[in-house]
Structures are given as C-alpha cells and as structure tokens.
Subunit: 342 residues, 2 copies
DNA sequence: CATAAAAGTGTAACCGGTTCCACTTCGTTT
DNA sequence: AAACGAAGTGGAACCGGTTACACTTTTATG
C-alpha cells in the first residue's frame, strides 16, 4: 500500500510550481511551454500520479456524477434502462451512482439525502410518489431532476421521460377488441402510479371506442413488488363471467401473472388471450410467442441523460420538459380471434 | 437555484465555531453541550444545510464508495447481481458507482482510470482478462479488488467470489449422462474466461466418469456478446452425428441458443434435451419448463461486498480469499430419458 | 475552599486540487 | 533604442469540511 503522490509531489519532481502542473492537467486553462508540458507528463507517468476527483470537485459543483435512482434493478426493464443510461453517461464522461428504492419511500428519502450530500448534478429516477418536498428542494438546489417511466402529477415542474402510457393501454386493448373480445381484463400498476393510471385510462378509451361495457371488476391494480400480480390474475379467473383476454400492463408482474395462468391450466391463447408490457427475449420463446408492447428503452435512456445534464443551459423554472416516446405493439401469437356468437 | 450554505454559515448563524458544528455532525469526535447541539441542529435544519461529501472525502480516503464494474447490466444475471450488491452496500451506508465494460478491455481500462481518480475503497468486477497491470496497480494503491463470477488465473493475489464452475458443469453433464445421453454438447463462454474453461473441465470429467467418448466437435465456445451462441447451436445441429442433449453454460447466450433451436424446429426435450445456466422466472414458464443451473446470486453479492469492504482489517498481501459457492441443479422437464439401444 | 480533572469551545492548519494575479523574460512595433 | 504585449511561471488564497491543540469554564475531589 503505497502513499499516493499529490500534485505537489509532481511539481517538486518536475521542478515547477503546482500551478503549472494544474495547467498541464487542464489544457486550456493557461499557457505552458511545450517542453515543460512533456516533462511534467513524464513525471506524472513515472510517479503514477492520478488527480483526485474529490479535490477537484471541491471547487465547483461538478457535472461529473449523475444519480440513477430506480425501484429495482432485478426487473429486466429497469436493468436494461440502467445499462443504457450508464452507456449514455459514460459516452459523455459522466459517472453513474446507482441506487434502488425497493418502492419504499423511506428508503427513497435516504437515498435522496446522500445524493444531496454528494452534490450530483443530475438525478434520473422512478419516484415512489412521496417525498415531494425533497424533490422540490433538490430542484431548488439546482439539481437536474428527471423522472423516467413514471411521474408525479403534483410536481409539474419536473422533467419527465416516458412512453405514451395512455396510447399503449389504448392500442393493446383496441387490438383485443378488434379480435372480437368483449370481456377484456387489465392488470396494471398501483392506481397511485401515473403509469398504472394512464394505461387504464387508455384501456377505458379503447373499450368505449369499441362500444364495450366497462366492468370495474375487470380492472386490477397490483403493487410492483411481491406476488400481487398473481393474486390479481386469480381473482380475474374466478370471476363469474371471466375475461377472455388480458392486458398485463404492470411490467414487474408479467411473469407472476403468467405463472398463475399456467398453474391454473389456462391455455394461451385458447382459453385466454394475452398482451404483456414486456420486451424480454423470452417472450418470443414462449409457446405461443407472446404479443407484447415494446418500450423503446434506448430512447428513454438517451433522453433522460440528456435532460439530466442540461443544467448548464439554465432553463427557466416552470418550463418542465415532457418527452413521450411511443411504444410499439408487436403482434405475435398470444391473441386469439374470437368467433362472435351473434 | 439558491447558493448552498456551508459549515461556516451554520456556525455563524448558531453563534458557535465551525469546530463545534463539525462535532455535531460527527458524534463521537468530541464533546458538545446538549443545548448547543440542539441549537446547531435547528439551525442546520432551518438553513437546509447538508455537509458536502467531496469536502469530507478530501481528508481521508473514505470507505464510502464502491465501484461495480460489470460486463453488461442488460444480462439478467448481472442485473440481479447489481441489484443485490447495491442493496448490500446500502445496508452498510456505502454507495455504488456502476460501470460497464461491454467486454471491451479498452473501455475497462478507462473505467478503471476513473475509479482510481475517485479513490474508491473497493471494486467488484467481472474482469475482461486483460489490463493486468492496472489491476495490480489498483491493489498496490490499497484498493480492495474482488473479482466476481470470473477471475484471472495470472492474478492469484486478487480475491474471487464465484460459483463452483467445475462442479456445475460436471453435475449438469452427469445428469444428462444418467438419462442415457451419449452425445452431449456444451456451449460455454470463451475459452479465455475462467468461467468457460472450468465448466468445460467439469463437463469432460463427467463424460469420463460415465465412460463416454469426448468429441471436440461437441464443445463450443461462444463470445458473451452478439449472436455467437446461436451460431454455435446451429453448428452443433448440423453435425454429422449431432448431440441429443445440450448444456448451455454461457448465461449470456441462453436465449440466443433457444431461439435457434426453436427456429430449427427442434422440439425440447423430444429432439433435444437441454440444461441451461440461467435462473430467470421465464425458464419455468417455457414449454416444457427448463432444467436449470441456479446461481445463488444473493450469496455472490453478499460475499463480494464483504470482501470489497474488508480493507480496514488490512489483510496480509498474498493471502487472496477465494470463495466458491455451489450452484443448484433444478430438475424440471427439458431433459428426456433416452432408451438405450443396446 | 483550593485545586485538579473534565467538559466545552475556538483558532488555525490541513486535505489536494484550481485559479487570480504579479512577475520575468522574451519578441515586436514605432 | 524605447515601449509594449504576449508567453511562461510561481506565490498564495480558496473550496468546505476535519481535527490537533490551546484555552476557558464547570464540576468533582480532597
């Protein structure tokens, strides 16, 4: 364990002042004779010198770190989002501090406190919905906050990047209706989440457009974590007049729901047509291949990072940017065409 | 955008010196009168003061940040690993800087450079296999380096946490042999990776124990990224005397291989028995449910974090810890019992 | 009640960088 | 040849915390 050389060690070894070394370190910050520059560089090389980020950050709040606060990285959707965000950030020389909330607003508050102390320049988050004061404070402090995938309606001044949830719910439902389904169930995220609410709103719109009756019993909200999705599926199956088609709009619960259907011996699409919000390669390998709603994760990531780093340009407050990208409905074989008993 | 209060602002507002405020901030660092403490706390509250991590880190190399350098977070195995590592770290008050290499050693070198500059206390990584000098340097600098999942044999002084790859390869192969399979193929990671090599060694051992002939044509290495796994599968299928069973030991390529089998119209387990190294919930939903090798990701994460934070205890150099946890073979229905044509 | 020990507080240096500004040393311009 | 400007360099203050040490005030002890 060797002691780390500092800028003064380098300066001394090269026979110059620390100011010169610093200028070599930050090209453009001042003139340095070519000969001096190479000499200093050689010394740094031979000493194995690496400038310390912490010291550098002390001077100015540095746009060099970004907080990524997700619900849960074991969910493949968030995992791929994290992957893309990290790549986008690295491409800009930015580092990513990864945190998870487990959908727990208390944990979220703790994480946000650390992010404040670290003075990160931006935060990309899937908010739980609470801790509104903290989010406001973060913004007041000059942190660029971007909500991705979800948002908090009572915080309209925060940037949002998400898919068009309303349209996704609508189009998935419309497809089922067009295939002759009259009783269509939907399992979505908690009613407190914008994601869940918007998708259900789209669902309602599609039913209305198709002239179908809305039955509140067919609309289920399931928490993001745990086995809630499975229970919701069971409840739908046990209905007196069960649905013939199902939109699984809670990404986190897709496998739970499918597991329950499978255990109940419900054949897809024979006994139940299914459309899931999920883009795992596995959906294509299922028997039958599942019809899915594919979220353009790359776009979500790119826009999020972009907004989270827009701080320097000093946007006027109150001008929140809302970016909605459209999801893609990929038709495969899990939706049956129903013979209309006329 | 308000200017952030500093410790001196707090001191002034509370009518005390900065030393006192600092002692309030770090309980145990010195005596503070109870009355003073509450007053200072109130002032901090009302001013919205948050101590700045960067300044604090300047004094000592702080065990408050950990680097997690993975190949790729879109791979569910790594994603779940990241999830667990983050949780374990948070439980200890440690933050995680997430980085990806895309299996590219040049990118890896860049990431490592930033980790050095940040003076992280520990690094958990899936190394590409190159950049050996940098890894050594990191260790010499006092950073706790832990390789997870894979290792670099020529760097024996680095801690390693992984599953027992040899035994996993052996038991999966043995299961197939016990079911009467005589021609068993294996698709594993690149021969340069310890993971791939060890699993194949276990495979050979099992064949030998079962008295089966080893055919080099049945052993395929596939790169972690891209469609290499699919190509390897096709190659096996096109063999003059193709295998009746397949061990897919390259986690990253599992879906690629299955996709190829499916497109080729190969029924599982009718025309091909399969065991995959993968523990996604989807494996259970497949038709038929897949027999899998399950890696205890929680354990991998816990041990990794533990080792990566062991620095203070100052281990003697040369005493690398190697932790091997055992993977679980979960039998489901993708392995057929073969009638032995005697 | 004198005095030693303990409690509480403040001053100033330090961590490792960046940067303002003053100072030399040249090469150019009238 | 004098005057000027640009290039190159160094000294020292600063960023926002922590902490060693000196100092004052209490409290405890004989």
């Amino acid at each position: 364990m060797q002691k780390q050389p500092t800028i003064r060690d380098v300066a001394q070894a090269a026979g110059v002042s620390v100011a010169v070394v610093s200028r070599v370190l930050n090209p453009g910050s001042g003139p340095v004779a070519a000969a001096t520059r190479t000499r200093v560089n050689e010394v740094m090389q031979s000493l194995g010198y690496h400038p310390r980020t912490a010291a550098r950050e002390l001077k100015f709040g540095p746009p060099t770190t970004l907080g990524l606060l997700l619900a849960d990285v074991s969910n493949p959707f968030f995992a791929r989002l994290a992957d893309r965000v990290v790549q986008e950030a690295h491409a800009r020389g930015i580092q990513v501090l990864l945190m998870t909330t487990q959908e727990d607003d208390h944990l979220e508050a703790e994480r946000l406190a650390t992010l404040i102390e670290r003075r990160v320049s931006g935060i990309i988050a899937t908010p739980t919905g609470n801790n509104q004061e903290i989010w406001k404070k973060l913004q007041a402090l000059g942190t660029d906050v971007v909500f991705v995938d979800r948002s908090i309606p009572t915080l309209p001044e925060v940037d949002v990047v998400s898919i068009d949830n309303f349209e996704s719910g609508r189009s998935a439902t419309a497809l089922l209706a067009a295939h002759g389904h009259r009783r269509i169930g939907i399992i979505s995220g908690p009613a407190t989440s914008t994601t869940g609410r918007d998708r259900i709103a789209g669902y309602r719109e599609a039913l209305e457009a198709a002239g179908l009756e809305q039955d509140e019993l067919l609309i289920r909200s399931a928490a993001f974590r745990g086995a809630a999705g499975g229970d919701a599926a069971s409840a739908l199956l046990n209905l007196e007049d069960p649905p013939t088609a199902l939109v699984v709009a809670n990404t986190a619960q897709v496998t739970e729901v499918l597991k329950r259907l499978s255990h109940a011996g419900i054949a897809i699409p024979g006994a139940m047509s299914v459309i899931v919000f999920e883009d795992s390669p596995w959906t294509e390998l299922m028997t039958p291949p599942l019809t899915i709603v594919r979220q353009p994760i790359d776009l979500l990531a790119r826009h999020s990072v972009q907004l989270a780093l827009a701080n320097t340009s000093g946007r006027a407050p109150g001008n929140a940017t809302v970016i909605r990208v459209s999801a893609e409905l990929v038709e495969r074989s899990s939706v049956a065409r129903l013979q209309l008993a006329k």
